[in-house]
Symmetry: C2
């Protein structure tokens, strides 16, 4: 047995509650250990020394090195003690906090069993239910649709459809989105994520001057309220972008510090090295190397309150359904914990989605975010669909590895995406291969979590890196590929199925075919993707197939 | 290379800040891979794609399977991106979020580097400085010393020195402790941990009726204040026991629920299955299976406030220096987070020590406790000194494994102990072998963290499991082994050395000799323990030796 591969950590992604008295326990082992059998030996914490139950575990997930045994347990006493018993080639081992041993002393178990000490209601990770079936549409507001033709358009400096530069303004606005809610509903969208809409000089508005004011380029508070109301009337959710890592240097607080230096009462709102911030010298902390985006000091109680007030204001005032957190990994855990407490107290099913490009486990254990933008999924899709780095087997392994990064309740809330305003467009990445894009969309819909479409994906919009991925939406229907459009519509409809929202998931590969299976009660839903040039397992070349079957 | 053994997790015990712009990075690998060289490839997050620095890492810790490479880095930009480069037998590999690969694409690094996204001040784990050099003395109050001879002693039902039963009362009190502060100071103690002292019917007082009242058996509020003042005058800290998992069924709130059931405003303070708690049926959550200790519902806001008020009251009123948290692993993380915030706001260096017998990593990342009672250390000492389960090498491996469970700032706050009111006495466990007990104490002092002596260890008190480990202190000096006592005194003095408080630690074994080394600047402090029956490496049989040397 490869004992180096064994891994279990209590109170973690390897042991977590999924209900009032239900838990999931995972054990990692080496994939190569084929003759291994794993048994969970368990019992109520205060009786474990004298009496244990036993149940065999099954390996449900495999990545490139490891397999993951998993068991879902219903408990009478929610204080659980457990260890693992492993059998291989006639040998018997125990795996406890003391590692792998040939013997295990149950009378001294109190020192080294694993445990779920108690399932406390306020520690349980709850899935925001609507995220399971959400089809998000991400809108970069300046480029989606001009709705208000009466406004002052003196800031618009490009013709709709021209190639954008970093400083282009095309005139898109909130009224444009309101106008197109029918369109989005018809497409199959039930949630909209808007990049920032608050007062800001830039087209992207990630440098915010006033967090409580809708930017006049985009509209008014009334426009925004109307958008939310109309969306809600369609059972559609609205998620906004919380740019809380940094602000614009034009925000009044930073301006005050620019003028007064240490004498400003906002000096400690920022992280300044010296008596006065100097944009030339950049002697203060910023986002990346952008001197016009000073970093906010979220260790400062006043800053915390300032930001929390904004977060709650938009829920209270406009009834938004979630916050996507910009550069959230650079903001303090301490702040996000407080943010969650207050946001969830205001609106329980308000979703919190971090922009963490990396393993965000330390933010996803129930005390901070619900979810992240799943860029690990994006990268896997690039490797599989665009780069040819992965065959079906490697893709299956990677998709399993991503699932094993987090607890099950979190996996059902992940915001899966193929591209965004911060990447190349996926359609461009796959060399404008529509069949590959459809296969990727099918995967995104069948894989657990929410699906996020970047605006224009449904009409095969192209684009390289920023600003090219932020082109104007092409409203000339005559230039659309309607076959493609209708196929996207059909795919999105699948997400309505309970099995894709609640079913367990199994990912595997059969030669050239990637296979995503969901199971719920007696129903199986299977997606098969074949990227090869031959038909394989009944799936056409560069094609996909969905099968739904009821088992007896 | 055994790639199954490789492990690194960002924002965890494998990567953590130890200062404003200083971090520690660890990588786990297989011990057997002797020809392996590991390099940290790193750079500021937003430049990593184009430019990287590189530094070799060293393996400082070895357990039974793994070795742990570690590097402490000073940063200019506190947003760090990094991966590992590994060389073995002429082959070159990279280890990133995508695992071990032969190639690594720096242009696409943003998807899969590891990172320390930003060192936020309010996320940093700070070491409570006095814990590094603390010598705790744990007192079970009823059995240490009778000080007040004027009190009503009608509750006392045993003669001092008799063998205690679970229901014995011997009459020990706070005044007795005040009387013996000179004694404790002379012994070398600089912190006292008292088992509970609040109103309660039992001798142990873990079933509390009134958390703001000192039990009259033990004294008055004035007595307790006098104890703290006199201790502080000696630079001695006082830590109390926070029994917040459960209370006594006699507490007024539970009594109210017993009478009124669901109609009581305290019904939701407890976890009751049914309309009314029934002690006969035990239809409510309790500590263990003790119906007289109902569990408190810390998901209830009012309960949180009730308990926090108690925690702050004793800091404010009596200026205590810390809380030891009873059955803390069964209480919600959510509550401990709030507890930490409020306790630290009141008194920054007030220490928070959990009673977690198991790997408590999920409580020790800076948002909940500072420390735990280090029962894993206790178990290792039992295996090595008492049971003969470990040779020196296995003990070194286990001590390294325990160090690698947590971050460095936490290791310096661990409450290391050989025994407590919840175990057999260590002296009894080692078969009354004083030389072994002295070796174990030497280890406890030289190993990083605070040292905790259970009352009477210095006079070789014996005792099996509760109630036998709670015997009365023997104040008849004529029966003491003064040679032993003086040697304990000498050992405790060592903890005053800066090197034992701030030095880095290396644990190894040389044949039969266990070797604990601390290093600070140019000084090395070495403890060698030889449990064999022959002299070995200059250490006498069943003996220890300390060496302090200055390196050129």
């Amino acid at each position: 047995m490869n004992q180096y591969a064994l891994l279990h950590t209590p109170d973690s992604r390897y042991c977590f509650a999924v209900g009032k008295n239900e838990i999931v326990i995972r054990l990692r082992a080496a994939k190569e250990d084929e003759n291994m059998r794993v048994f969970l030996v368990y019992g109520p914490k205060y009786q474990f020394q004298v009496e244990q139950l036993e149940v065999e575990m099954t390996a449900h997930y495999e990545d490139n090195l490891y397999k993951y045994y998993e068991k879902r347990l219903q408990l009478d006493d929610v204080r659980l003690a457990y260890i693992f018993r492993i059998e291989e080639d006639g040998e018997k081992y125990y795996y406890s906090e003391d590692g792998l041993t040939k013997e295990y002393s149950f009378p001294e178990a109190f020192y080294n069993f694993f445990q779920m000490p108690y399932i406390n209601e306020n520690d349980r990770i709850e899935t925001v239910d609507w995220m399971r079936g959400a089809i998000f549409y991400q809108i970069f507001v300046d480029r989606f649709r001009v709705g208000n033709t009466d406004k002052d358009i003196s800031y618009v400096n490009m013709r709709w459809g021209e190639k954008p530069t970093p400083k282009s303004f095309a005139g898109g606005d909130i009224r444009g989105i309101i106008e197109k809610l029918d369109y989005l509903e018809d497409l199959g969208v039930n949630a909209i994520y808007l990049t920032p809409i608050f007062l800001s000089k830039s087209n992207h508005k990630y440098d915010i001057e006033d967090y409580k004011k809708i930017d006049p380029m985009f509209g008014t508070l009334d426009d925004f309220k109307e958008l939310v109301e109309n969306a809600h009337a369609r059972n559609m959710k609205i998620v906004l972008d919380a740019v809380f890592n940094h602000c614009s240097m034009k925000m009044d607080k930073f301006q005050d510090v620019l003028q007064k230096g240490r004498l400003s009462k906002y000096y400690d709102w920022f992280l300044i090295h010296g008596d006065k911030p100097d944009p030339e010298k950049m002697n203060y902390e910023c986002f990346a190397a952008c001197n016009y985006m000073p970093k906010l000091n979220t260790a400062n109680e006043e800053v915390q309150e300032f930001l929390l007030d904004i977060a709650l204001y938009w829920i209270r005032e406009a009834d938004i359904d979630g916050w996507r957190l910009d550069v959230s990994d650079e903001v303090s855990h301490d702040f996000w914990r407080r943010f969650r407490r207050e946001v969830k107290a205001q609106k329980e099913d308000c979703v919190i989605i971090g922009e963490n490009w990396h393993d965000a486990y330390s933010y996803l254990m129930g005390d901070q975010y619900d979810s992240i933008m799943n860029y690990a999924f994006t990268k896997a899709c690039l490797d599989y669909f665009a780069r040819g780095n992965f065959h079906a087997k490697e893709m299956a392994e990677k998709l399993n590895a991503i699932l094993m990064r987090n607890t099950a309740p979190v996996n059902h809330m992940m915001l899966n995406l193929l591209d965004s305003h911060d990447t190349h467009r996926f359609y461009t990445e796959v060399g404008k291969d529509k069949k590959k894009l459809l296969c990727a969309l099918a995967l995104e819909i069948v894989y657990p979590g929410a699906t996020c479409l970047y605006y224009g994906t449904e009409i095969c919009m192209e684009g390289g890196y920023d600003p090219d991925s932020r082109r104007c939406f092409n409203w000339n229907h005559e230039e659309w590929d309607m076959d493609f459009f209708h196929e996207v519509q059909e795919l999105l409809k699948l997400k309505k199925k309970d099995i894709l929202r609640y079913g367990i998931v199994r990912v595997s590969a059969n030669e050239d075919v990637l296979c995503i299976e969901r199971r719920l009660d007696r129903t199986r839903f299977i997606l098969k993707i074949n990227l090869s040039e031959q038909e394989c397992d009944g799936v056409e070349p560069e094609g996909y197939k969905v099968i739904e079957e009821v088992m007896s």
